[in-house]
Symmetry: C2
Subunit: 446 residues, 2 copies
């Protein structure tokens, strides 16, 4: 199913033709015209893994290199590859675990499953299936938790490297409130993470994220070490959870009574800033949102997971309030989320927004799934849109992927409606093909 | 894609083998053991459109008629066909319409689309695609709105008859608060419905539902005529909406100030009772739920639609409170719902329940989608389970329908977990085959 290797990918010159959509700005903060670009008959040319031209086919066709024939996807939408800003690859096996809210769910399912990642062979098998599933769903970059075991992070980066994907991840840091087999220590977690950074950060397309699970499973010493490690390794990311569930928030208050609140725990230990991505943030207060905005801290909005665990409703319009807008991306949060598809995730984000009486339009939803995610990761100059110079990760969406979708898209009136229908009715089948670094990495028909 | 006709179906003897699940009681009201039956290696024998034997394969195999070879679906789940207790076939074309809550959505999208059903050829085309889509999703019975035009009901019943489906539907009654082209009158609505009842009710497998859209679009005279018509035609159903959206409820109060509330409008006009199905009921009060329970009135829970339009959260545990349990089925509510799949609808029902802090287990979810729906329609002796004597409508579910589903179901520990995973991760692909009246009506591989 998956093809491509760093060697072939970087040597490839690719041209694709279809309906091109891309972003130049945040549509929550600027007009649609400033933010969103749409070429009904567009052309994308990629050389050595990067985009070298993007725009109207007729205007650009003379720039197609000799000997290259564009792959024509008539009627299909070409978008930047989807960016999943919060996912646990080690929870792929426990999607759809019944009946619990957050803390019970962690204890009953997650902490059992993650112990299996002590077995490196198991980790490699899951990491491989995980990368394939991302590509099947048009996701070209993910910010992912590994397990506590350093090997599980190696497995992730090895499989991502084989596919030349821009992957961001890290071994989880946990030194309390979890089964012994899943605990590191402040010192060992620091050391193991440091070695992983040396081994993987900036190697190929891999990037490292320092990954304390969340405040309740790290001692103050571990959080301090994590903050120290981040300071020592500029360019790495921080990835954790915040304010997903009200019970969790109370727990954090009881564990850190000296702090002003959940976010302040991370703030105190130097874990906020550009490149820090906090999953969920469902119950962040206005003051906490302000603090995220002023520090450059991003939130990963995970609507499917928030519904599945009954965590609550994220208010995207508050998060993107132009007076103090936060960086926001979308996350599937596998395995509390139940679908790898960012299209399905947009659909769930729409529903959550509807319940808060905010109509999340398709230009904003696709932004969150692409450029918004790149901004959350601090990678907006590298991935997330289809501008010359960006890395050539993109997805081809098929408006006729199912009989029902074909009926519905036959009558759409404009690109916004088409994108909306793709988000609401789409799934992995809608992804006709996924290109990574300019090379075909998934082909639905293959 | 679709095969079968009344002639071949009733002449067919079919046997299928696989994992059999069925219901004898309501699992909200009795123990799992009293309600739910599971044969890991089960056999179903159907003759002349009805089930003649259902149970353990080894115990029953001697009863397979000579010359009949059971179709073996190893590892697959055989369930009663899904029953969709609320859907608008005439809204198939407007799924995924952006940005509105109920009343705006009706005015901007629905009332525009439904005018197209003045064209009988269009109605037939949509009705045909609609029936195919139901079968692709394992739905064998639907309670559906047609448009105001009697022809649109004819088209529905004709297409259902061609497929030998047990279909319940009716032309909508609307004599105010809609575009002129969609209005009937109390008298013409009554007459047209009466003729449709004569033409279709009890003909083949069709049943008629008297279908006032909802209180705001019918005058008191029309509601009175609808109640009168129901009295004159025992065995027909009533199908309408109630308490979906808070703005709608206020509107009803202003239109019917003399009534005690929304439900009381229908009560007053004789539209509650066994065989009355009210869609949504999201905001029903405790007293209104009691009144539904004591009159035998059913509610169709439409979680996808309620999320998509931001209508609110239905509390299924209140509705099924053993002190005064209501009949509850599931509805997709196409076109405000966005998927024909009752599996996806169970997933959405689970999420809505989680947000109300109630873990809706898979035995209850599948009940709602099968026997619960049959009880809502007053058809529990006819369809909705797989007992000898019932009509042979059933679905074959494939636990390996996608790579991710196969990975996940490979590790389930019991039938409850398998059903839960199928509900949460399933879609139309999960439906390997659909049988109607004992005959193969949809085969995914065909």
């Amino acid at each position: 199913m998956t093809t491509g290797s760093p060697q072939t990918a970087t040597a490839t010159t690719t041209a694709v033709r279809g309906t091109l959509v891309r972003y130049r700005n945040d549509p929550f903060l600027t007009s649609r015209e400033d933010a969103f670009v749409h070429e009904p008959d567009g052309l994308l040319i990629c050389e050595n893994g990067r985009i070298t031209a993007a725009g109207d086919y007729t205007a650009l066709r003379d720039r197609i290199p000799p000997g290259v024939t564009p792959v024509h996807y008539p009627g299909h939408v070409i978008s930047a590859g989807f960016i999943d800003t919060h996912i646990h690859y080690v929870q792929t096996g426990i999607i759809a675990a019944f009946g619990s809210q957050l803390i019970d769910w962690l204890n009953h399912y997650t902490f059992v499953e993650e112990q299996r990642f002590a077995d490196g062979a198991y980790a490699r098998r899951v990491a491989s299936a995980f990368c394939d599933e991302l590509l099947r769903n048009g996701t070209t970059t993910a910010l992912t938790f590994a397990a506590v075991h350093p090997d599980s992070a190696d497995a992730l980066f090895e499989e991502a490297s084989r596919r030349d994907m821009r992957m961001v991840g890290g071994k989880v840091l946990m030194d309390r409130n979890a089964p012994d087999a899943l605990l590191d220590t402040a010192q060992s977690g620091y050391e193991d993470s440091r070695k992983l950074i040396e081994r993987w950060h900036g190697k190929g397309r891999n990037l490292y994220a320092i990954t304390p699970r969340f405040a309740p499973t790290s001692t103050p010493e571990q959080l301090e070490a994590a903050g120290q490690l981040w300071k020592e390794n500029p360019g790495t990311l921080v990835h954790t959870h915040v304010s997903e569930n009200t019970g969790e928030i109370s727990w954090v208050r009881s564990l850190f009574p000296e702090r002003r609140g959940y976010l302040d725990v991370y703030d105190h230990y130097g874990l906020l800033g550009d490149g820090a991505v906090l999953a969920h943030g469902v119950h962040l207060t206005g003051r906490e949102r302000d603090r995220c905005a002023e520090t450059g801290t991003a939130v990963s909005h995970c609507p499917t997971s928030n519904l599945f665990l009954g965590s609550g409703l994220f208010h995207v319009h508050d998060a993107k309030d132009p007076r103090h807008p936060m960086k926001v991306g979308l996350g599937t949060d596998i395995g509390a989320g139940t679908s790898f598809s960012l299209l399905s995730t947009m659909n769930e984000a729409y529903k959550v927004a509807e319940l808060t009486n905010y109509p999340l339009d398709s230009v904003k939803a696709f932004y969150l799934a692409t450029r918004g995610g790149a901004e959350a990761l601090g990678l907006e100059d590298t991935i997330g849109s289809l501008e010359p110079g960006q890395e050539a990760d993109f997805v081809i969406l098929d408006p006729e992927a199912t009989p029902l979708l074909a009926q519905r898209t036959a009558r759409v009136e404009d690109i916004e409606e088409l994108l909306f229908v793709l988000a609401v009715m789409g799934d992995d089948r809608t992804v006709r093909a996924t290109y990574v670094a300019g090379a075909l990495a998934h082909d639905r028909e293959a």
